[in-house]
């Protein structure tokens, strides 16, 4: 990993030097990062964290963040595809919710039209039950879901989002019909958490960070994390450890516009690479509770293709997409 990073950085440096020779791109990067959601959400905080670290490390001279709200990021994506074509100064943040939104909203644009630069973070989801629930293990929950799919009430984030997808995958893995799951979509982590604390639902799904303090105080019982490996310092097993073959993370990544030149791609990769390797970025990840899930451009592109396939299948199985 270290070698990979070092070589990437070297590539970035080489690209920067190469660019330095070309008069048109002699100036250091002056970036505009689009957060295709309102201020305060996950994509907005990711964009603003990038802004801070890119400038702090000198990877970019100036960074401006713009918010374009709408429809799970698809409004922003459509605008980005138009405006950032061939642009060496515009980036956009996106994530798994956007993959789902493109499919269920039948958006005219999709992620194959933009240039993936890097996957940055991937937060594990956590499956919890209220503290006085009779369900104690993932096997208990799987049993309940299989036995009475429609009466098992799930609480989580927006319909078709990562939480919903995990509930559907879990039901399938438990041998139940995913089309029958009773998933109550709440508009924010807050309301879903209130429903969980009130003990009115069977199980809840959310980003681990959102439920963390309630899990630590024992108000909620964490059954499993959805990531491939455990979180450092967190005593919650993964689904895979407990024999449920599901791995799903709420990933966020960064994209550039369509039709980039090789030099432009290399310049972006270089800047992002400087950022993720830096001390301030490590600090941001730690304080925000984000899990590093860095993937360079090509690996990220194939990851998105696979994710698109999987999310599409799940959304069809729960009737959100045709």
């Amino acid at each position: 990993m270290i070698i990979l990073k070092a070589s990437l950085r070297a590539a970035g440096l080489a690209a920067a030097l190469a660019l330095g020779a070309a008069p048109a791109a002699a100036a250091p990067l002056e970036l505009k990062i689009m957060a295709p959601a309102g201020a305060g959400g996950g994509w907005d905080s990711a964009a603003r964290a990038m802004q801070q670290v890119l400038m702090e490390t000198g990877a970019a001279k100036s960074v401006q963040v713009v918010n374009v709200t709408g429809a799970g990021g698809t409004v922003g994506l459509a605008q980005f595809v138009n405006e950032a074509r061939g642009s060496g100064s515009q980036l956009m943040v996106g994530g798994i919710t956007m993959v789902g939104a493109i499919i269920s909203n039948k958006a005219p644009v999709n992620l194959t039209q933009v240039t993936p630069i890097a996957r940055l973070t991937g937060d594990p989801l956590v499956i919890v039950v209220p503290k006085n629930s009779p369900i104690r293990t993932v096997a208990d929950l799987a049993g309940t879901v299989k036995q009475d799919t429609a009466r098992t009430i799930w609480a989580g984030g927006s319909a078709g989002g990562a939480d919903h997808i995990l509930a559907a995958l879990f039901a399938q893995a438990a041998g139940a019909d995913a089309a029958k799951i009773n998933y109550v979509a709440f508009s924010g982590g807050g309301e879903a958490l209130a429903a969980m604390l009130g003990g009115r639902v069977t199980a809840g799904i959310s980003g681990y960070g959102e439920f963390e303090s309630q899990i630590k105080t024992g108000e909620l019982r964490a059954l499993a994390l959805s990531s491939g490996k455990r979180l450092e310092g967190v005593d919650v097993p993964t689904l895979k450890e407990q024999g449920v073959d599901i791995e799903l993370i709420n990933w966020r990544g960064v994209f550039a516009g369509p039709d980039l030149s090789a030099e432009q791609k290399a310049a972006f990769a270089g800047a992002v690479d400087t950022m993720v390797a830096s001390e301030p970025w490590a600090k941001v990840l730690k304080t925000r509770g984000w899990d590093n899930a860095f993937l360079p451009a090509e690996a990220f592109r194939s990851f998105i293709a696979a994710e698109n396939e999987r999310v599409g299948t799940v959304l069809k199985s729960i009737g959100l997409a045709k």
Binding site: G38, A71, G72, G188, G190, L320
Partner: protein
């Protein structure tokens, strides 16, 4: 007693010169962004987050809280003066506030808004300091059925209150509810009434409708009648300051506004709009001068303004005690906490007493600063109204369009604003009240998804609405509010016949 001691210690923290400086920067910025439509406190805090990264956590959080309170304060100014509510929480204020301004009483309207916000801010902050742990338990116990019952109560009271006849009020409300259906359905993720326009997928923005109906509709209406009936600039009548009578009519609405705003603001899905409308309708019912409502009644400004500021303090309850952000600004403040490695939640009060109590104490200080800042400005603000009519309304059109574009740079949004402007013109022309449409847009989607959530969780059994004590009580109140006027009418007729 423990809380008192901690609060005293908090004041020591808040009175540190640097923290005082941060609080004053915060309220100043907050007031400014509150006055400018389109730039809300949420975006301001988001913009400042990276800048404050290196600063001391206490100081910057104090500044953020100042911005939040200041924004709530500033929003009322444009609502009163030019009928352009900068945020949805100021819509109720615009109804009577602008009528007062037009009657030459802009000074007292701004004053009762400023003092009411101050009083509400202080009381609600006391509530935050002492009642937070109790309140948060109640708030968490509030289920979808309770929310739905609260919405029903709001519908019933609001629809009957506006306009010259209940039918006109209900028609306008129905328009709002219809607009509220547009967009992605929260529970199934399916698009409704969007006609393939991606910008409509997120539904109609409340401020776009409010600014269109209120400000643009009004400007068009004035322009349409200008030749036949040229209006003169508004002379300022009487004192800029509140009279004895104004004080007498304001203090009760302030207190009642807090009683609505603080607890509802503390609910995870409560928000600031519902309490402002509940406060408005309550004041209209209780007022000794109901005939003044619709023509500029001071109670109708005092109550909602107090309610909206109290709800801002209310949102801090779940934020600090549970780490639940219930508004966009609170969400960014949560990010602010996390930036410093602090995790709001049950443990925060125990782990970081200095910071939490310093924050609470500085809310008191921010409130006092806002009052000092805003009262002298009133004299300056009301001079805006002396601008000749064509200039003033031309300016309002520019200001309203600019604000909408700033909030969401899209052609569709601007088109909707203009469309709603013409709708507002027609509604004024044919004497339909515009406020219920805004209420419908705010409450409709909430009632829709909360009812369906409730039924989803009860596996389809509607009795859940009556089985829970909270929702049953609220529904009973709604029934009472619906039937009471008829019963009273019947009784009074009976009495007259008896005479």
């Amino acid at each position: 007693m423990d809380s008192l001691l901690s609060l005293g210690h908090g004041f020591l923290v808040a009175f540190e010169p640097t923290n005082l400086l941060f609080a004053s920067i915060g309220v100043l910025l907050g007031t400014m962004v509150g006055v400018l439509p389109g730039i809300g406190p949420a975006l301001t805090v988001a913009l400042l987050l990276p800048v404050t990264f290196k600063l001391d956590p206490g100081g910057s959080l104090i500044m953020f809280a100042g911005i939040y309170y200041g924004g709530m304060y500033g929003g009322s100014t444009t609502a009163i003066l030019i009928n352009t509510p900068g945020e949805s929480a100021s819509v109720a204020t615009a109804i009577e506030g602008n009528k007062m301004a037009k009657a030459g009483r802009g000074g007292p309207a701004l004053a009762t808004a400023a003092i009411g916000s101050f009083v509400a801010g202080i009381i609600a902050t006391i509530g935050l300091a002492f009642l937070a742990p109790v309140l948060v338990k109640l708030a968490v116990g509030f289920g979808p059925w309770d929310y739905f019952a609260l919405m029903v109560l709001a519908f019933v009271t609001v629809a009957a209150t506006f306009g010259s006849s209940p039918l006109r009020g209900l028609t306008s409300l129905a328009v709002g509810i219809l607009l509220g259906l547009v967009g992605i359905d929260q529970l199934t993720g399916q698009a409704r009434l969007t006609f393939g326009v991606p910008e409509l997928l997120d539904g109609v923005e409340v401020t776009t409708l409010a600014v269109g109906l209120f400000a643009i509709g009004e400007a068009l209406h004035i322009a349409a009648r200008h030749r036949a009936n040229p209006e003169k600039p508004i002379p300022i009548k009487g004192s800029l300051w509140m009279t004895r009578e104004d004080w007498k009519r304001s203090w009760k609405p302030w207190l009642r506004g807090v009683a609505f705003g603080f607890p509802i603001g503390a609910l995870p899905a409560g928000g600031a709009e519902v309490p402002t409308f509940l406060s408005y309708t309550t004041e209209k019912r209780l007022s000794r001068h109901p005939e003044e409502f619709g023509n500029g009644a001071i109670e109708g400004v005092a109550g909602p303004e107090a309610a909206n500021n109290a709800s801002a303090a209310g949102t801090l309850v779940p934020l600090l005690t549970l780490g639940l952000p219930t508004s966009a600004t609170a969400a960014i403040m949560l990010a602010g906490f996390q930036q410093y490695g602090l995790h709001p939640g049950p443990l925060l009060f125990a782990q970081e007493p200095d910071l939490v109590w310093g924050l609470v104490a500085s809310l008191f200080i921010a409130n006092a600063m806002l009052l000092v800042l805003n009262l002298p400005l009133i004299g300056l603000w009301v001079r805006l109204l002396a601008i000749p009519m064509p200039w003033l309304y031309g300016g309002i059109l520019v200001f309203a369009a600019m604000g909408t574009i700033a909030a969401n740079p899209s052609v569709v949004e601007l088109g909707m604003l203009i469309g709603f402007g013409f709708l507002g013109l027609l509604m004024r022309r044919y004497d339909y009240p515009v406020a219920p449409a805004v209420v419908g847009l705010i409450l409709g989607p909430m009632a829709d998804s909360q009812l369906r959530r409730a039924l989803q969780m009860s596996l389809g059994d509607p009795m859940i609405l009556l089985e829970n004590p909270g929702s049953a009580t609220l529904l009973a109140l709604a029934a009472l509010a619906l039937l009471a006027p008829f019963v009273m009418k019947g009784l009074s007729r009976y009495r007259i016949e008896e005479d």
